[in-house]
């Protein structure tokens, strides 16, 4: 009972120190918050680039149909109908990434079976943006053929799409989960690490050692404070994302599951933090290493993409990164309204948390005894 009150006293003390230290809070939340802001800022332009459409066949019906389809194509960030001269100017000024030219007499030639040629001018700075544009034209032309405006559709292949999730998660929501996981992990590592190192730097470690509290209680108190601080920061970020409509409102059960996953991630982070703090014993070193480590863990777990997109060797590495499982579980519960595979994810996180504590606690304990 006495150890419990000691544990709680240390948790309260470390949390109070955290709340009263703006720089620590900044270290914890600033990188992830700014990343969130950027994701929101750029979300609209993720689907594609701005383009210009030049319709030189102003009176043709087929040309008008093609122009309409291109103008409303959802793979362009912005599609403007311009004259040839205007489009060329916009292209030269890098205001548009591509220019689609429907030639003069297009509709007439199409009707006469003369195979008119549509020109697609592409600013191929790199394969990624250029391929987005290269994919766009066939998509537009397929829709055009299906519309019947070019006569009978000669293509008879039909793609039957079956989606695994009832609806597509938004790009921002998908990445927001990754950022929240990074935030929670980083908050755990930084706060527990700094809480540990602070005792050595301020000399208060001596007072702690002279107190009747057991070393294990003190260390668990620091881990507890790290977990609560991580839960608070991660929770605020998640609630903000839900309130902004980026992440759907989860059901009560899935919400609880999400909280459990966030807490388990925080335990992993705090265990790592205590380990780093006890090993390095200097704020400057701990802050530098812990931020680098959080970023490494973020990217090795797939970062803002999914591990399926990583090369095979990296997928093998990601399988040993705890936040891979946090990401998988949080995306399932919060984005896909599903709990499939969540037991495995929770099991791995419990194991990772236990391993982090089993290594971190003895290292700090040894540090205290010295």
């Amino acid at each position: 009972m006495q150890q419990l009150s000691t544990f709680w006293a240390i948790v309260k003390k470390d949390l109070a120190t955290w709340i009263r230290s703006p720089s620590t809070i900044a270290v914890t939340v600033l990188p992830a918050l700014i990343l969130m802001f950027v994701l929101i800022l750029q979300a609209a332009a993720v689907t594609g680039s701005p383009v210009a459409i030049v319709n030189q066949d102003t009176s043709g019906q087929a040309a008008a149909k093609l122009q309409h389809i291109a103008q409303n194509y959802n793979g362009f960030y912005n599609a403007k109908v311009l004259s040839k001269a205007q489009a060329e100017k916009e292209y030269q000024n890098l205001a548009v990434a591509g220019v689609l030219v429907i030639p003069k007499g297009f509709s007439k030639e199409l009707k006469g079976g003369q195979h008119p040629t549509i020109t697609w001018q592409v600013r191929n700075f790199n394969n990624d943006t250029a391929n987005d544009l290269r994919r766009a034209l066939p998509d537009i032309l397929s829709t055009f053929l299906k519309s019947g405006a070019a006569g009978k559709n000669p293509m008879h292949i039909q793609v039957q799409e079956h989606d695994l999730h009832a609806r597509d998660a938004s790009f921002v929501g998908f990445n927001m989960i990754a950022v929240v996981v990074m935030l929670v992990l980083q908050a755990g590592i930084v706060n527990a690490g700094l809480a540990a190192v602070r005792e050595w730097e301020t000399g208060s470690v001596k007072e702690l050692l002279m107190s009747p509290a057991r070393p294990l209680t003190m260390i668990l108190g620091k881990v507890g404070a790290g977990v609560i601080a991580s839960d608070i920061t991660g929770g605020i970020a998640l609630i903000a994302a839900i309130a902004a409509g980026m992440v759907p409102v989860p059901s009560f059960g899935l919400g609880i599951l999400a909280f459990v996953i966030v807490t388990l991630t925080a335990i992993v982070g705090s265990g790592l933090g205590v380990l780093i703090g006890a090993a390095l014993r200097a704020t400057e070193r701990v802050s530098g290493l812990s931020i680098s480590l959080s970023f490494y863990l973020f990217f090795l777990a797939g970062g803002i993409t999914d591990i399926a997109y990583l090369p095979r060797w990296l997928q093998d590495v990601a399988a040993y990164i705890p936040n891979t499982y946090s990401l998988d579980a949080l995306r399932a519960t919060l984005l896909y309204n599903s709990s499939t595979g969540i037991l495995t994810d929770i099991g791995v996180l419990v194991l990772a948390g236990a391993v982090a504590l089993l290594i971190g606690v003895p290292v700090m304990r040894r540090g205290l005894s010295h």
């Binding site: 270290v27 600033l30 990188p31 918050l33 802001f37 800022l41 750029q42 332009a45 680039s49 793979g75 000024n93 890098l94 990434a97 040629t117 020109t119 697609w120 700075f125 394969n127 990624d128 250029a130 391929n131 290269r134 994919r135 034209l137 066939p138 998509d139 053929l145 006569g151 000669p154 293509m155 008879h156 292949i157 039909q158 793609v159 799409e161 079956h162 695994l164 999730h165 597509d168 998660a169 938004s170 704020t283 400057e284 802050s287 530098g288 931020i291 680098s292 970023f295 090795l300 797939g302 970062g303 993409t305 999914d306 591990i307 399926a308 997109y309 990583l310 090369p311 990296l314 998988d328």
Partner: protein, 365 residues
Amino acid sequence: MGIRAAFYIMLNDLRLNLVSPFATILSLIVPINFLILFVLFAIGGAKVPVSVVVSGSGHYDAAFLQALHNALTFHIHRASSVAAGQQLIQNHKSVATIHIANGFSSAVAAGQTAHVPLTLNNLNKDFADDVRRAMPLAVLNFYHSVFPSTLPFNWKEVDTYAHNVTFLGYLAVSIQTVALLIGGLLFGGRGSARDWELGTMKELMLAPIRPWSVVAGKLGAAMTNGIASAVMVLGALLLLGLRPADWGQFVGVTLLTLFVFISLGVAIGSVAKSQFVVTPFAFALGLPLFFISGAFGPITWSTPAAAVIARIFPVAYANAAFQHAVHGYWPIDTGVGWIWTILIGWAVLALGVSWLAYRRATAKH
């Protein structure tokens, strides 16, 4: 006297780096760490992993598989059955299964509807749309290759540049810019903040030297470290197969960019007076600026808000200058003269802030 004082301050800072090797090594490898991490991201983002199941053995089955290969999108795994394809999705090895079913060839040959079932792990709209848009491309390419006369029109792509720069090639240059930014902020910021933390700034203030000597000394030490770090980053770029189109320009842009970013770091360190603040600040500034400063394409193709913010900071201009030095084109609508003026202007402004911070502190004491 001023130059000599600056030289000794620089020498002292470099010695201090040697006696705290952990922090120095960490700062030196952070830029290259960033490069590695983002390259991992670039490798991952290039192609969509899908599994394709070909159940038949007809002529058109192979032609459609080839069309999928040519769809500029897919990294194709062959799966023996639809169930095996689903298993790959479950295991996060693929995000879709495309099934070229038995009877596909005969249906195509007879001009009948041929269904291609696509099971899609629609993780998010952006990823899912890549697959959805690639399928019409494959279908159109298929008809263009096997029944060219049936399509009522032709289309022609006109590329601006004869050579296609790979996604990794383009992104690696942007990553190099942000690696130098973070390295520069850390070297400049930590070096100048350290004297405030250790209390040795008081001694510098009491010394009969001019404020600019302190700033110049800090800048010199950080530049030395920054150049060492930039050489490591360059080594990594060379290993990735990147070769600058113009070596002279590349070295010039590297030195100027480092100077700008280190000046900013010195300013932040002088104002914050804490290494503890400098480190997260470097990351917090570096990562978002990377995303909005033309990492993937020109800033003018982004949202207006992102473009306006990007134009304020020097990263977008530095990035454009690097792209020109490496790939030979300017991915920005700002004139070359303005780019250099803005970069130098930022360095002057940052050094002015550092000088002012030092002056103000001197006045207080």
